[in-house]
Symmetry: C2
Subunit: 224 residues, 2 copies
């Protein structure tokens, strides 16, 4: 399929959209914690960061990720102690790699002439390391973090910041993410949206639906 | 310890603050799912509901809880099928009981002359059933839900709604909750705050600190 109007920029979410979180289970097991804590940890980190956004405030992603991890590990017996465990798991997070479909998809989108940028609730340094390790950093025109906006996605101000930096109107930009809450927020802020649904998950009906849904990033490039 | 100024109303959070979520693991296991999905489910429900608040929108708690549960169970092999599993687990949620410390604590606070109310992101019917089963419904002057406010806690409008309904100024009200994000939001909205920390968890430093911290509800009554 092809023929969808090319956006003037694609803003990529980073954590879990570009990065593959699967190894986090192994990192947790490596410090003596249950591997399946990873899912609760990431949901709790987003819950607390987004809660600050709902209350009109903000804190760095790294601080919140460390705090929620500390809370989840507090009741776990850890051979090396809590501080060392938190540090090791966060190091693992900073060293994640992209999903296997990302390099091909990013190259195809860039080759199709679509300007690419990231808009993350995390630090730009994390996105820079991730894309650098994958050899696709040069395909991105900008790496943006909401840290400069003072509010996390999905608050409207976070998307507004991304649009301003790219000098693009909302309706000419597309946000691409795996997280339905990010698609919903971007849609409410006026952006077009692309849902990357790698797991064949059902769409949560309480959120605004995405403009396009794909199972892999190369499939998104085929849309244009 | 005693001597803290009595608030003109205590607004109680309901889910997990008054209700004991521990049986949810059993309900999940009952439909053939891993019991430890419960934590990820509740964190995802709050993440999505609070994300709508950050984006300036809202949906009923029951809809979001059903949607996130459906997403988490989508990849699990369930003997009775997905629809039946979702219904059974949600029935279990609606039939939860209060934590063991709640009846004594609520009676002690009411006997001390502190007006009590609930302010939940969930439906008032859930709070009514919960407190009715525990025999303490008559100690509450009001059961409030943010559904009538059109926005979830921790957005300021949710607390403002609670204060308006109780006809109390922010500084004369106290919010009591187990969730740090709720304490933070209430504090930013000008309320006094009481953190019920049953598990001895560390306080997440990226949130505003509570005015008082107790391990049980009767201990809160001792403060006044």
């Amino acid at each position: 399929m092809a023929g969808m109007q090319k956006p003037d920029v694609i803003l990529f979410d980073v954590n879990e959209t570009l990065s593959d979180l699967a190894p986090m289970s192994r990192h947790l097991e490596g410090v003596g914690a249950p591997g399946d804590l990873a899912r609760a940890w990431f949901a709790a980190t987003l819950r607390d960061g987004i809660a600050l956004a709902a209350a009109g405030a903000a804190a760095p992603f790294a601080d919140i990720a460390a705090g929620t991890l500390r809370g989840l590990l507090a009741t776990v017996e850890l051979p090396g102690g809590l501080d060392a465990a938190v540090e090791e798991v966060l190091d693992g997070f900073a060293g994640l790699d992209v999903h296997p479909d990302v390099p091909e998809g990013v190259r195809a989108l860039a080759d199709a002439g679509v300007p690419l940028a990231t808009l993350s609730n995390g630090a730009t340094s994390v996105a820079e390391g991730l894309l650098g390790r994958a050899g696709i950093l040069d395909r991105f025109e900008r790496l943006l973090s909401v840290e400069a906006a003072g509010i996390w996605k999905p608050a409207p101000g976070a998307y507004r910041y991304g649009l301003e930096q790219c000098e693009v109107e909302a309706g000419r930009a597309m946000l691409v993410a795996v997280h339905p809450w990010d698609i919903d927020g971007a849609s409410r802020a006026g952006l077009r949206t692309g849902w990357l649904n790698r797991d064949g998950a059902p769409w949560p009906g309480y959120f605004r639906t995405p403009d396009v849904e794909v199972a892999t990033l190369p499939a998104l490039a085929d849309e244009f």
